[in-house]
Every structure is written in C-alpha cells, then in structure tokens.
Symmetry: C2
Subunit: 566 residues, 2 copies
Amino acid sequence: MPYRAPLESFQLILDHVVGYDDVARTGRFAEAGSETVQAVMAEAGRLCEDVIAPTNRVGDQNPAVLENGVVRTAPGFKDAYRAIAEGGWVSSSADPAHGGMGLPITLTTAVNEMMSAANMSLQTGTLMTQGQIEALEHHASDAIKDLYLPRLISGEWAGTMNLTEPQAGSDVGALSTRAEDNGDGTYAITGQKIYITWGDHDMADNVCHLVLARIPGAPAGTKGISLFLVPKFIPDADGNPGTRNDLRVVSLEKKMGTHGCPTCVMSYEGATGWLVGPEQGGMRAMFTMMNNARLGVGAQGVGVAEAAAQAAIAWAAERKQGKSPTGTIDGHADVRRMLAEMRAETFTARSIALACAVAIDMQTATGDAEWAARAALLTPIAKAFGTDTGIAVSQLGIQVHGGMGYIEETGAAQFLRDVRVTAIYEGTNGIQAMDLVGRKLADGGEAAFALLDEIEACAESVRHDHPTLAEPVWQAAETLRETTEALVARDAADRQAGAVAYLRAFARVLGGYFHLKAAMARPDGPEARLAAFYITRMLPEHTGLCAQARAASDTVMALSPDDLAA
Amino acid sequence: MPYRAPLESFQLILDHVVGYDDVARTGRFAEAGSETVQAVMAEAGRLCEDVIAPTNRVGDQNPAVLENGVVRTAPGFKDAYRAIAEGGWVSSSADPAHGGMGLPITLTTAVNEMMSAANMSLQTGTLMTQGQIEALEHHASDAIKDLYLPRLISGEWAGTMNLTEPQAGSDVGALSTRAEDNGDGTYAITGQKIYITWGDHDMADNVCHLVLARIPGAPAGTKGISLFLVPKFIPDADGNPGTRNDLRVVSLEKKMGTHGCPTCVMSYEGATGWLVGPEQGGMRAMFTMMNNARLGVGAQGVGVAEAAAQAAIAWAAERKQGKSPTGTIDGHADVRRMLAEMRAETFTARSIALACAVAIDMQTATGDAEWAARAALLTPIAKAFGTDTGIAVSQLGIQVHGGMGYIEETGAAQFLRDVRVTAIYEGTNGIQAMDLVGRKLADGGEAAFALLDEIEACAESVRHDHPTLAEPVWQAAETLRETTEALVARDAADRQAGAVAYLRAFARVLGGYFHLKAAMARPDGPEARLAAFYITRMLPEHTGLCAQARAASDTVMALSPDDLAA
C-alpha cells in the first residue's frame, strides 16, 4: 500500500476552505502564490512517496539502538534524512537570511503532514530541528545565529528540545538541571533529561540540544528557568564539529511505537552551554519553540490518519468477504461507514491544522492582533484534535483490516502504535484543552465568538440553496456559542472538568464549517457527498460534548480518590 | 501495580443491578446462592491476584515460540495454567456429569473477567476450551462426550476453534477445508486454518481442535459445513494421548499484542477427525460455541478495562506533578475526569455482561422464551461494548500515565495492545452490530421494547425522590425507543449504516439504567456519585448516537469507493 501525497486535498483546502489567498496577497509571502505552492507541495510529495515512505516499516522492525554511547538508526534512515535535508525540507519556513526558503508555515504544515504520513518516526527529528531553528531565530544572539542556523537549516546538524526530567513531566517548573556560569560566556550544564526525542543519532554531523536549566540563585518554578544551547560537539574556529561535549545518552526507551525514533535519557555532566535569550527568559523562548511544535504535532496526527485511511481504503477495495454489491468489503455498509469516517475526520483535522497555519502566517505578515488571537485559539485544537484523529482513524484502520489489522505485517497496527504518542508529547491533549478553556477564553471568548460569527455568516449565506447542509452547521455553531458563553461566565477552574469535551465540540463544529465550504466549492463532487455524510452523521456528536462541557465540575470532583480506588 | 479482584463490585451488581437472586431461586441453580457465589468468586479472585497476574508482563516480553513444530509458552504459563485447571476454573459451568461444577454462566463470566484482567493471553486458552466443552455437551455423541469432556473440564487437555481460512475470514461459508469419509466412522481432514488461538502449546497433554470442513458433495456456503473433532494426539484404548495426528502448526503470527498467546496457522493433512453433530450441521454447533464465546470475549474487554483502571488510579495517586489539591495528579480535574470515566465505563460494561449472563442462566433454568430473547439481545451488546470499553479505558489509562504510558515498562500500553484484538475476533464489533439491528430486531423490536419498558418503569419508580438521576435515564430510554421504532420500520439493509451507533446508544442507555440501580442501592455511597457523574456527563452521548443510528444509509452509500480513494 504505497503512500500517495494528497495534493488535491491540500489544494482544495488552501483555495476554498482556509483562505490561503489572504496569505499569498501579503507582502511577506507575495512569492508564495498558488502556483508556487502547488509546485513546492508536488516536489515534497514525491520525496515522501518515493524516498521516505519505503523506510517506515523498516524503522518499526529495526528500532534505533545505543551502541558504545552512540545511537544507530534503522537501515535507510540516513539516506532518507539526507534527501530531506538536500531538498531544503528540514524547515522550509526558515529565514532566507540564513539559507532558509522563507515559505509560509502553511506550506511547512502541509509538508510536515506528508512527511509524517510517510514516516512519523523520521519526521519527528526534523520537527525538533524546526523548533530549534525558530527558537534561535527569535531569541539567540547574532553570533549563535550565524554559527548554528545555516547548519541546522541545511540539515548538516540537528536540533533537540530538552524539557522533561524524571520528576518534572508536564510540570516543567519543577526541573532541577543547573547551569553554572563559567565566567567566559559559557555555562556548565549538569542534570538529567528524559524523553529526549532524537537525542542522538548518526544522521547528522552534530546534535544541538536546547536545554532548560536553572542558574543557581534563580527563583523556583518556571520563572527561574533559562535556556541553553548545548552541542554534542563544540564547534571549532571554522564552525566544524570539534571537541566532544560532556553529555551522553544514558539509555533508550522501549516504546509502544515510533521504534525508528530514538527516545533518549540524556545526562549533562558539566557540559558547555551558551545562553539563549536573557537569563530567566527560558520559558518564553521555549514557548516559541513549543507553540509551533504543537501545530507540527497536530500535523503528525493528520499525516498518520491520511496514511492509515489510504491503507484501509486500498485494503477494502481488494479484500473479498461475504456478499457485497462491489464484490469486496467496501460494499458492506458498515465498512463503507468506517472508511467515510476516516476520510471525513482526516479532512476535518487537516483543515483545522491549515486554518491554524494560515492564521499564524497572517499574524506574521500583518502583525494583526485578531490573527494572533485566531492562531492562539486554534493551536490547541489543531494539536489535540489532529492527534486524536490520528488515533481514531488508525483504530478504524485496524478494524477495517479485520484479523489482519492485528497482525503486524499489514502495518495497520504500526500506525496506531506510532501515533499514540502524539496525544501525549508537546503537552498532553488534556493540557491543550486546559489552555483552550483557560488562556484562550481569557479574552471573554472574543476570539471564539469571532470565529463562530464567521461560521454562522457562511452558513447563512448558503442556507437558502443548501438547507440540509447549512442549517445543522448554523445550529451547531449556535450551540457551541451558548456553551462558550456558559464557560466564560464560570470560574476558570470550574471549566476544567469539561475542557476536553469542549475542545472536541469546537473541532466538531469547525469540521461542519470546513466540510460545508468544501461542498460549496465542489457541489457535485465527492467533497459534497463527504460533507453530507459528516454533517448528517458526525456533527450531531457535538450535542453530547457540549452538554459535558457545560456541566459543572462538581460531579467530577465529588468522586474522591478513595471513591475511585474502591 | 498488583491486580485486585473487584469482588465488591461483582457483589453489588449481582445483588442490586442485574437481579442474580432470580437465578439462585431456580431449581437448576438452587445451590448457587449468594454465599456460595461470594465464596467461589473470592477463591477465583485470589488465584487471579496471586498466581495469574504475575505472569502477565512475562508473557508480553516472552512471546510464544514455535520450536521444532511445537509451541513453547512463556515462563510461568504452564504453572499458572495448572493452577487454573486444578481449581476447576477452566469451565466452572461445565456439566457435573462429566466432572464440571455446574455453576451458572453468571459466575463463569465473573471468573472469566478476573482471569482476563490478570492475564488475557493465558485466559484466551481457557475460553477456547470452555467453548469446546459447551459445543461437545450439546452436539457430540455420548462416546465422544465420555472420552473428551472429563479431560477438557479437568484441563488435562485443551480445546481450540478452527473457523477461519485465508480467504474466508468473517465469511465462514467460503471455507475450503474438506473432510473425506474414511469409512470407519472417521474422516480425513485436509486444509489450512488461520488465526487459531492457542492452536498448540506445552501446557496440556493434548490439544483438541474443533474444525469446520466440507464433506465432498455438500452444498456451497454455510449450509454445507460440518464440524469435526480433530485431536493432536489420537486417544488410545485407555483414553491416553496416543498416535500423533496428521496436523501441524505452520507458523505463529506476529501480533500487536497478546504475545503470550500463540496464534497459529494450522495445516491439516489428512488428519483423523470425528464428526460432531449431524453432517452439514456444523454451523449450528459452531454457533453454540460462538454464542457464549461472544459473552466471554466481552468479559475479556471488561477485565482488561478493570486492570487498566486500577493501574491508572494507583499511578495517579502516587504521581506528583503540578499544583493539585491532593498533591498528586489525581487532584487535577481532567485527570479525575479520566479516572471517573474509566470507572464508570467499566461498571457499565461489567453490568451489561452480567445482565446478559443472568438472562442466559434464566433461559437455561426456565426455558422461558422471554429470557432467551433477552439473552440474544444482550449478547452482541455485551461483546461489542465490553471490548470497546476495554480499548477506550486502556487508551485513557495510557493518557493518565502521560509519557510513561507510552513506555512499555509501565504495562499501560500492553493493556491496549492486548485488548485491541477483542473488537475483532469472535465476530468483529461491526458484525455484532449487524446482528443487533438484523436478527435481534427481527421480532419487531419486542425484546428491545421489553427492556426499555423495564428501564422506564425503574426510572419512574424513583423519579420523585431522585429526579436529577431518574429523569435523564427515562428520557434517554425514550429516545432509544423512538430510534428503535424508526429502525424496525425500515428495511433491514437500510439499518446497517447506523448499526454500530445504535449498539453503542443501547449500551449508553443500559449504563444509565444500571448506574441508577446502583445509586438506589447505595444512595450515600461512591456508587451514587459515580452514577451522577455518568448520567450527567456520559449519558448525553446517546443523543448524537441515536441521530446517527436513525440517519438513513444514503449518505454513507452515496460515497462510492472512487470517492473515498480520491
């Protein structure tokens, strides 16, 4: 089941669903018009289809190993990574001043999705480097920028993010890694970090770690944290990898999936590091990195969903079983229903991710606060719903495969095992939902209501000609509006028990909106039929979700730990 | 995280939720009164806690292997299996005439759940033997019964089910294994079978296969199929394992989970078999076996859900992260919400399984057609919802564990990898839903309406004192009634696209009913708080599901395979 890059879907969504033409009309992205975008995506798509996708099963079957302190990757990974680097795909949005292509995040998001579909384990490495590039662009000194950025952007060197410690997972402020001033402009970094994705490998000449640490005397909690760049090899005077730094990989985790991706326990033992941004400005710099990484992880979910959907659809079109109108299992109503859900959900998640990316690009290009608010609102939804969709679609993919879905050789199970982590890392999906009902509704719901206004206006404009599609979308937006009003009227803490349901309800309503727009663009196409499926059968889920989101937290908190343990 | 048998939950459900006292009042099960039941469950529970549960991780890490044609199981499995056999737990419902305990299926279901929680891979073996015992009790000749049943019931010998062939998965009628009459009362069986659970192993002295095959000249499809008993070793005159039969394990599948359980490709090469039941009566005999196996698989889902819930609750009570009222992560509202969902869903699935078992026992004891109809209605729901719950609760368990949930050492991922197969085997959950909206509504909905009458009567009886619990349950039952009416008014084929949603809606409403009854039994206990949680926050899901169930299939079937592949 070879992967095919979904270029037509991207084009439809960019042109008719998320308003990419706004981005292309800005001065900043004037060179990224529709034709350029199509050409770029086609080129990246070919790379994903021909070079990257063939490495996916290999990575699952040949987990990365730690040998004599060095991580060795699966056969073929190094070549695939080199092809990514040579194509400029490590970070196509990076600043041209340091060798980047300066393309919109919207394009990078589409490319990230395709690369994740082809091999999520491998793509996670480029995603880490993307985040590092962005953090350095925003926060590093010119000297660091000049030395590191060209090498990271070209893919010669790779980047990692080091946040988590054994006793400080989601609670980053509890970290204990310390950074002592060497008095020569460098710091000595000492501590242990866990879950370090691509913490070491043999695909790049140097691995550069961004490490959160506390300078002695700094305040407790997140406020006292600073960010350091700690390379595996300290660059020499010519900018080549020189002396080995005092850091090492202690062990690799044995994980449910992403076997191709080394997840490292790292030990820093007085390693030399350079401060990035001001002292105690670590969290701000890290948030730059994490914010876009959240969208990137959402795109990973979409990519795996697309790959799983393609595999299941191809399987169902070949597999004969029972009497069916098509002669194959895709003629059975319930199999057809599962395939349709896979397609409809993947479309929804992709549209949300690209809508978020468009908002980020518009914010970058215009500095407009409304675009910033839109981007901030959509980021946790893109992350959580994208990854939940990756999981749900992979689950359906296994089910469509029947018994063969449980056997590893079909690859259906790998999709689920790989994508499962995306709901956890880069802030668990529960934390995304907290962000949505907390910080993102702290404006009294203004950004949310602006988006709901837009949805309702769209539904109203086509209501007359397409009542069966437009009416339920309008109604769902209205129910979500009432739910949002109920939440903002409530104490922030009291919103949390319904946060996950609220985020999912929001995604459901956005799905209705985006499917409606696609149907209007292609009223006689498969898009309109998929929209009818989604709006009739999946959109109604929002009522139960809104009920759960509106419910006060008392029924949750009344259940004590003792009650639950009983 | 040691497993603890949920004896109190069983007792509450048997006494106050599913009306087990009806069973104990019958002549057939007069000896299985409440005290006996408690004693039996406590004994089985200790075995599961002390002997079986410690083998669960071992089995995952030491997959069964095929060596020189013989399957070797993980360290400790043989001893644990012997303890199961010696305790009489292979099949506690087996006929005392052949050495069984003759206990109600209700008890066997509870024991199966506990054994699955402790080690699902291992328990699958006993479940296969249970099914074989039942098929032989109902359909075999006295000679076969006398020879095989005592040895199967004692666990000396083990049983398997051989239905599936490479080109005949869910479509059993397409099988091509043939059985040629040897003219001496035996048949020569030739063909290949796949997905044979525990098809060979080193835990019992003989492995007896029930094999579906076609006698030459028999009609095509399911009608022409006969059932044969084909032992690995042909019993000698003393009933001891004698000559090796002409069958072999070709290979073991590499699966996503249940690594401890060998899933075999079997080859029968003129193997000697004995007819069970009449010629061409194979499907009827197989359905006997499959019907109760469906409930058994549902109980596997519940068992894994319970184990995953216990592990997550224990983890969340230990894990410190962020500021929380309890000091541990179970103080965070969203974590508490996840733990509550795990508990509420497990309770619902357990109650449905036990209600189904009670109906089977009442049917056995009374021969009453209404009990038979109730059992038939609940069986696909118990199977599909039980296993969906196993998956959903395991998913939540991983999420509660955060990053550690994705690392294999915590065991959280194993629960999901193991239980995932239960939604596929013994009839996929889609097929269960087809059965529900097809055969089980073929009575015009009579059995469904009878159950809804019971639910509404219960809700009405407590409505005055407990309106916030009783009202939503009554309303949900009424919505499900209207949905059922809409389905029975429709062509059976047109029900299928909404079948899965209908089954889930039914389970949701049953959950409301059972939680309500538990709350009435313990109005000041954790059961009442859990009921309030479920009814307020989870029961509302039924509205979206009912909408999907009621929707005609046109929006599904309008999407052609070409549309989906686009």
